[in-house]
Amino acid sequence: MPVPCATGCGRNASLKRPKTGDALCKECFFWAFETEIHFTITRGELFNRGDSVAVAASGGKDSTVLAHVLKTLNERYNYGLNLILLSIDEGITGYRDDSLETVMQNSADYVMPLKILSYKDLYGWTMDEIVAQIGRKNNCTFCGVFRRQALDRGAALLNVKCIATGHNADDIAETVLMNVLRGDIARLKRCTAISTGSEGTIPRVKPLKYSYEKEIVMYAHYKKLVYFSTECVFAPNAYRGHARALLKDLEKIRPTCIMDIIYSGETMSVKEEVTLPTQRTCSRCNFVSSQEVCKACVLLEGLNKGLPKLGIGKSSKAKRMLEEYNAKQNDSLQEAISEINDEFKKNNCISKGKVCKSNCKSKENKHSTTDLNTVDANTNSCEQVHSNEVTDDNKETKCCNKKQYCTNKKTNETNESNSKAEKLLAEYGIPESSDKPNSIEETNSSQDKVCEIDVSNSVDNEEFDVDLHTNDEVILKEEDNTCAGACGKVDSLHIGF
């Protein structure tokens, strides 16, 4: 027997809303769903007129619905937003083709510019290259850590005011539950915030914070939105899998539990004597980090030093590895590697302008040259500043901040170390740059070139690579560093340098 729509519109109901229990027809459901998101946006003051907003787009259901609804509301209520789809391509063979195709389709359908940035663009390494170094077993750590920062780096490149992500109510309830289950009070406090970001960073907002997963999927279904779904993302027996299954079971019995858990998370207060790790920015790359050096930089350091396992596992182990590594290296090899790092950094900096990665320290050089590559956010032009101070005062710089190997020592390099460098370069698959590492003019001019970001250039001609076990819808949204619900691996990096 058909059920009439609860609004009295005269049509038959198509679904029962989990949030309210109302039976609504498609049209009334669309209106209710969109209007609630509009209220979420206006009440939370998520955007300002004229803002450029990057919509984190994975091609999955949440980001597809988010993009569609934001476009609809932007027109209906005249928000005056400049919406840009931002996608990250981690470069894992076989994984991203379909989802990136979906994103491109969305971009065409919604007439929204799309920017796809690869891990290679952002970090200088593709996941395939990382897997070649580290093996399959630990690559989740990399994809999770890199993915987390990728959006921030991408948004910085796009020069947007904020990033909108597709976190839905079910996701947030799950995160609250997970943080309780892990005793992670700092994240518990943060995870329900509709807008996150400390000063100096690009805030992330969650317009779908109060939208149920069921409604998102029904909306996409009834609107016939094209989205991409991967293999089931959580192993039923992983820790997160249990939490998620519990939540779904509870939701089945009493759908309001989702809102109730979010409410609990929002209103719970933390005893004052509980000390929380402060959020700060990484001293190397200046993106948000809970440590002095962020995990992405630690992992990159490991990769660039040929110690890819550095940063995976206990910090004591990492320290030991570093010590052993340093003890083992003779000077010439160390210089060779430093040179690789330099060269590598140049390549990085050249290809991504604002983004800067790794740092090579020289043990025997107490006075290292500091190289500040500053990108003017408004003009997107790069300047390079040289100063002779020693390290650590650089945290204030907004942009690319890297400490360089002392250049004075470089002059007496031997042919032997160069050939070693070449060998290592070949092993890393890093094309040898013809630029001399310290040629400022050359670096500047090539930086100028690449620092011009063309947002309207919506389709990149890069090859998109893939992996089936990762799920980026989840990862784009993850507050922690697990690669996906699938592996349920909780990040185990606690490294202090």
Partner: protein, 109 residues
């Protein structure tokens, strides 16, 4: 008298990945007393349909689709494009020509 019925079943949101990636298929259910000799009912309901699907269509990892005698929470069921929660869910009596869709909310993107 019980008799065979034809149905359209559809999969979406990643649920199709559990069914050979086929998104839509026409199935014919035998007379219910042929398939479930013990069954007292004359008509197929979604509850029996799920058993039939498990026996005939679901190749691996049934726990990703089924839980107890229902679908796993998080998999939406639509009867002729309407939320099965507006019908009687498992006890909805299937009619000749019905379209039953299973859409996963659990699969990522």
């Amino acid at each position: 008298m019980a008799h065979p019925i034809k149905l359209q079943i559809q999969f979406g949101g990643g649920a199709e990945l559990l069914f050979d990636s086929i998104k839509s298929r026409t199935i014919e259910l035998p007379a219910i007393d042929k398939y479930f000799p013990e069954c007292q009912r004359e008509k197929w309901t979604i509850k029996e349909l799920l058993v039939w699907m498990k026996d005939n269509l679901l190749r691996e990892r049934p726990e990703l689709f089924l839980q107890g005698d229902s679908v796993r929470p998080g998999i939406l069921v639509l009867v002729n494009d309407t939320d099965w929660e507006l019908y009687d869910e498992l006890s909805y009596e299937l009619l000749e020509g019905d379209t039953i869709a299973f859409i996963s909310t659990l699969h990522g993107g």
